[in-house]
C-alpha cells in the first residue's frame, strides 16, 4: 500500500496532463477550423470529391454532416464532446476514419522513437561514463566540443547533412520511406545524435559528481575495490539524474519525430501531421497532434515510474 500511493499520485498527475493535452489540441484544432479561408464546406467537398464532381448540394451535405452552420461556441462544445468520446472523426480530405489512419502510423512512429532512444543511449552512456570517470581528460574535452557543435545543429539540418553524406555521397544507406531495418538507421541516428549531444554530458556530470562524492571515497576506504565501488554505488547513483533527464528529453524526442519523419518521408504520425496541416485536413491534424501529445504524456509517466524504481527514498519515507 505504501508503494502504491506514490504510483497512483504519478498516474493522477500525468492523467491530468493528458486531459490538458486533449483540451488544448481540441481548442487549437477548432480555431484552425474557424480560420479556414472561404467556405469550409466547399473546400472540404472539393477535396473529398474532386472539383469536377462537386456542386452546391455536395457542399450542403458536408455542411450538415459537419454541423458547420451553428454558432461557434456550440460547435466547440460538440467538438470537445466528440473528443471526450474518442471520436476523432473522418479525414476531411480522404473521408477515411482518423483512428484507422493513426493506427497504421503509430507503429512506425514508436519504432522511430525507440530507435532514436536506443541510438542515443548507445552513444551517450559509454561516452558519458568515460568522460565522467576522468573529468578534464581528453575524452571529456573532445566530447564536450562535439556536444556543443552537435547541439547547435537542428534535427532537420542534421538529417539533411546525414542524407548528403551517407546516402548520397557514400551511397551506404537508404534515404526515404520504410521498407526494412536499413531504412531505420539514418532517421534514428539523426534523432539519436541530437539527444545524445546533451545526454552524454548529463551522464558525464552524474558520473563525475558520484565519483567526487564523499560516499564514493568512503566505499573505497572501507576496503571495496575501485571496480566494485563503481558497479555497486557509482552507477546506480549516477543513473538517477540521467533517467530524470531522459524525461526532459521526451519533448525534444516528440518534436524531433515530427520533423525527422518529414525529412525522411517516414510513414509515421509526425509526417501525417505536417501533411495534414499543409492540406488543411483538420480532423487529421487533431488526431495526430493528440496522439503525439498522449505519447509524450505516456513516456513521461514511464520515466516517473522508473525514477521511483531507482530511488527508494520517495516511497520509503
Amino acid at each position: 500500500m505504501t508503494r502504491l500511493t506514490p504510483f497512483l499520485a504519478a498516474c493522477a498527475t500525468r492523467g491530468l496532463q493528458a486531459v490538458l493535452v486533449a483540451v488544448i489540441v481540441g481548442i487549437v484544432s477548432f480555431a484552425m477550423m474557424q480560420a479556414l479561408p472561404g467556405d469550409a464546406a466547399y473546400r472540404i467537398a472539393a477535396g473529398r470529391y474532386g472539383y469536377d464532381m462537386m456542386d452546391a448540394a455536395a457542399a450542403e451535405a458536408v455542411r450538415i454532416e459537419l454541423g458547420l452552420d451553428r454558432p461557434w461556441a456550440l460547435q466547440l462544445l460538440d467538438w470537445l464532446g466528440a473528443l471526450a468520446q474518442f471520436d476523432l472523426g473522418r479525414s476531411l480530405v480522404y473521408g477515411t476514419s482518423v483512428i484507422d489512419e493513426i493506427a497504421t502510423q503509430l507503429g512506425y512512429s514508436l519504432l522511430l522513437a525507440l530507435g532514436a532512444v536506443v541510438a542515443s543511449l548507445l552513444i551517450a552512456i559509454p561516452v558519458g561514463i568515460a568522460a565522467g570517470l576522468n573529468p578534464g581528460g581528453w575524452v571529456d574535452r573532445v566530447s564536450l566540443g562535439l556536444s556543443i557543435f552537435l547541439r547547435a545543429i537542428p534535427a532537420f539540418a542534421l538529417g539533411v547533412v546525414l542524407v548528403l553524406v551517407f546516402a548520397v555521397q557514400l551511397r551506404l544507406l537508404p534515404v526515404a520511406g520504410f521498407r526494412g531495418v536499413a531504412h531505420l538507421i539514418l532517421p534514428s541516428l539523426t534523432l539519436g545524435l541530437g539527444l545524445a549531444a546533451v545526454s552524454n554530458r548529463v551522464v558525464r556530470d552524474a558520473v563525475a559528481e558520484a565519483m567526487a562524492a564523499e560516499w564514493r571515497l568512503f566505499a573505497r576506504t572501507k576496503g571495496l575495490s575501485a571496480r566494485v565501488t563503481v558497479l555497486r554505488h557509482v552507477l546506480r547513483n549516477a543513473s538517477l539524474p540521467v533517467v530524470t533527464y531522459v524525461g526532459v528529453q521526451m519533448a525534444y524526442l516528440i518534436e524531433g519525430v515530427v520533423i525527422v519523419e518529414t525529412v525522411f518521408a517516414w510513414p509515421g504520425i509526425g509526417h501525417a501531421l505536417v501533411h495534414a496541416i499543409f492540406a488543411r485536413d483538420i480532423a487529421m491534424v487533431q488526431g495526430t497532434a493528440l496522439t503525439l501529445g498522449l505519447i509524450y504524456v505516456a513516456l513521461n509517466l514511464l520515466i516517473d515510474l522508473a525514477c521511483r524504481g531507482i530511488d527508494p527514498r520517495g516511497s520509503s519515507a
Partner: protein, 473 residues
C-alpha cells in the same frame, strides 16, 4: 611496536606550506589526538596517512604503517591497505553513506567484499555489529532516514567491518549533541582498549581529554605543542594552546547576571507546529531590557522556530507574543547562524550598510563608530561577504543591526560555525553591547556550557515537551 610512524610530514599547495613538519609515532593500543581550529590542517594528516590527499597537493616526509614505508607506494598498493589494515571514520556520516543503499547493506557488503564472507554470513555479521552498537539488528532503512548518531554508528560498523586494527577518525563528534558525543567517544576509546590503534582529529578539548593518549596541537599547519594529552591539557606551555583551552566554554567564567530593565517582549502559552507535528507548547517568556536569555536543546527541537515565532514571522497555534508599546517596528533584530548568508552575496558590504543607514537616517560617522566599538576595520566594507572571515562577518552583522537601534537581539546559533577563540570574543562582545546599550539578547545555542556561563536565564527545550523547563543560570 610502532604501528604508525610519521616523520617530518609536510603538505604543500604549490609552494605554500599547508602543514608541517609533523612527526609522531603511535604504538599498538595507543591513541593520538590532533587538535586545532578549522583550517589548521588537521585533516591533511589523516589524508596523507591514508593516501587520499587531493591531487593538487604534494607532500614531503616519510610515513610507515606496521614498519612498512607507504608514502612511496603506488596508489593501487596503498588502496590495498584500506579496510584491511587502515580504517577511516568520516567527518559527516550522512555524506559518507550511499544515499540509495540500505544502511545494513553498506555494512554487509564490507563483510562480503573485504572480509570475504558468503552473503548469509555477511548479513549475520552485520546484525551482530548492529546489536553491539545499539542499533536495530533488523534495520532496513536508508541512511537519510537515520539520525546523525545512528548514521555515525553505521559508518563506524562499515569502516571497521573489514577488520582493520588502525582507525583514523576525522572530527567524529562534529554536529552531535552532548549525549551522542559521549557515545561515539566511548566507541573510539574501545578501539584502543581492544588492542587497536586510534588517531582522532578534533577541535574539542573535551573529546581530547576523554580519549587520552598523546596530543598534537596544530595552528596554521604548524605543531605548537605535543605531549601526553592529560599533561598538555592540565599545564599547557604554548600561549596558543592556553588561549585555545581558555576558549573552551567549560573553562569560561560565569558572567554576572544583568539588572533587568523594562519588559520588552512577552510570550504567553506559546505553541507552534511548523507544518508538521507540534514542536512545543506552553512556552512563557518575559524578556526585559538588558537581559540575556539562552535557549538550548537538542537539534530539531524547534529552537530557531521559537525565535521566528517571537519575531512574528510564523503565527503561533496557541498563545501570543506581546511587544512593549515603545518597541518600534524594527526594534527586534536577528543574528544568523551562517554569517555570509545574512548579506546579499553580490556587491560590497558597504552597499548593504549604506542602504540601512539611509533607510534609518543614521549618520555614516555613527556607523563607523559601531564598527570601531566592535573592533572592525572600515576597510572591510570594501569587500564582498565571501571575502571576510566568519567571525568578522558576524560582528559586521551585529554592527548593521545596531544602526537600526534595536531593543531586542535574537541570535540564532551565531557562533556555531566559528572557531572556539573567535566564538569567545564574539560572545564577549555581544555581552558588552548588551551591557552598554541595554539591548536584550536571546541566544540560541546547542551548547549547555555556553548557556550556563553566558546567559542569566536558560530555557531548555526538550522534544515534545508540553512545558519547557526553565532554570536560572
Amino acid at each position: 611496536m610502532t604501528v604508525i610512524e610519521v616523520e617530518d610530514l609536510s603538505v604543500f599547495a604549490g609552494a605554500t606550506r599547508l602543514l608541517g613538519p609533523v612527526s609522531f609515532r603511535i604504538a599498538r593500543g595507543g591513541v593520538l589526538v590532533v587538535m586545532g581550529e578549522t583550517g589548521a590542517g588537521k585533516s591533511l594528516i589523516a589524508q596523507a596517512i591514508l593516501g587520499t590527499l587531493p591531487g593538487a597537493l604534494s607532500f614531503r616526509g616519510r610515513i610507515a604503517i606496521n614498519g612498512q614505508r607507504v608514502d612511496t607506494l603506488p596508489a593501487a598498493d596503498r588502496a590495498r591497505l584500506w579496510g584491511r589494515d587502515l580504517a577511516s571514520l568520516p567527518q559527516e556520516p550522512w555524506r559518507a553513506l550511499d544515499p540509495l543503499m540500505a544502511a545494513a547493506r553498506q555494512v554487509s557488503e564490507t563483510h562480503r567484499h573485504v572480509g570475504g564472507l558468503p552473503v548469509a554470513e555477511a548479513a549475520a555479521a552485520t546484525a551482530r555489529d548492529f546489536a553491539r552498537l545499539g542499533l536495530d539488528p533488523g534495520e532496513r532503512r536508508l541512511p537519510g532516514a537515520l539520525s546523525g548518531g545512528m548514521a555515525q554508528r553505521v559508518a563506524f560498523a562499515a569502516a571497521t567491518a573489514g577488520g582493520a586494527p588502525i582507525l583514523l577518525a576525522d572530527e567524529p563528534t562534529k554536529g552531535l549533541d552532548h549525549d551522542r558525543q559521549a557515545r561515539v567517544i566511548g566507541l573510539l576509546a574501545e578501539v584502543a582498549r581492544a588492542g587497536g590503534t586510534l588517531m582522532a582529529i578534533t577541535h574539542d578539548a573535551q573529546v581530547a581529554e576523554a580519549l587520552g593518549g598523546t596530543l598534537v596541537v596544530l595552528r596554521n599547519g604548524r605543531v605548537v605543542e605535543q605531549g601526553a594529552t592529560a599533561q598538555v591539557l592540565q599545564a599547557p606551555q604554548d600561549p596558543y594552546t592556553k588561549a585555545l583551552l581558555a576558549a573552551d566554554p567549560s573553562a569560561w567564567p560565569v558572567l554576572p547576571a544583568a539588572e533587568p530593565g523594562d519588559l520588552m517582549l512577552r510570550a504567553q502559552g506559546l505553541a507552534v507546529s511548523r507544518g508538521g507535528p507540534r514542536l512545543f507548547a506552553g512556552i512563557d517568556l518575559a524578556i526585559h531590557a538588558g537581559a540575556r536569555l539562552a535557549i538550548t536543546g537538542p537539534s530539531g527541537v524547534g529552537k530557531s522556530t521559537l525565535l521566528d515565532a517571537l519575531l512574528g514571522l510564523i503565527p503561533p497555534d496557541e498563545g501570543r507574543v506581546e511587544r512593549a508599546g515603545l518597541l518600534g517596528r524594527h526594534a527586534i533584530q536577528k543574528l544568523y547562524q551562517d554569517p555570509p548568508a545574512a548579506f546579499p552575496p553580490f556587491g560590497r558590504l558597504e552597499t548593504s550598510f549604506r542602504d540601512v543607514a539611509r533607510r534609518h537616517a543614521a549618520a555614516w560617522e555613527t556607523v563607523l563608530g559601531y564598527l570601531e566599538d566592535l573592533t572592525l576595520s572600515p576597510t572591510l566594507l570594501q569587500r564582498r561577504p565571501d571575502a571576510v572571515s566568519g567571525g568578522e562577518l558576524q560582528r559586521l552583522s551585529l554592527a548593521r543591526a545596531l544602526i537600526v537601534g534595536p531593543r531586542v537581539l535574537l541570535a540564532d546559533e551565531p557562533t556555531s560555525r566559528l572557531d572556539p577563540i573567535t566564538q569567545k570574543t564574539t560572545l564577549d562582545l555581544l555581552h558588552k553591547v548588551s551591557l552598554e546599550t541595554g539591548i536584550a539578547v536571546v541566544l540560541v545555542t546547542h551548547s549547555a556550557a555556553i548557556a550556563e556561563r553566558w546567559a542569566d536565564e536558560v530555557l531548555h527545550l526538550t522534544p515534545g515537551h508540553e512545558k519547557a523547563e526553565k532554570a536560572i543560570g
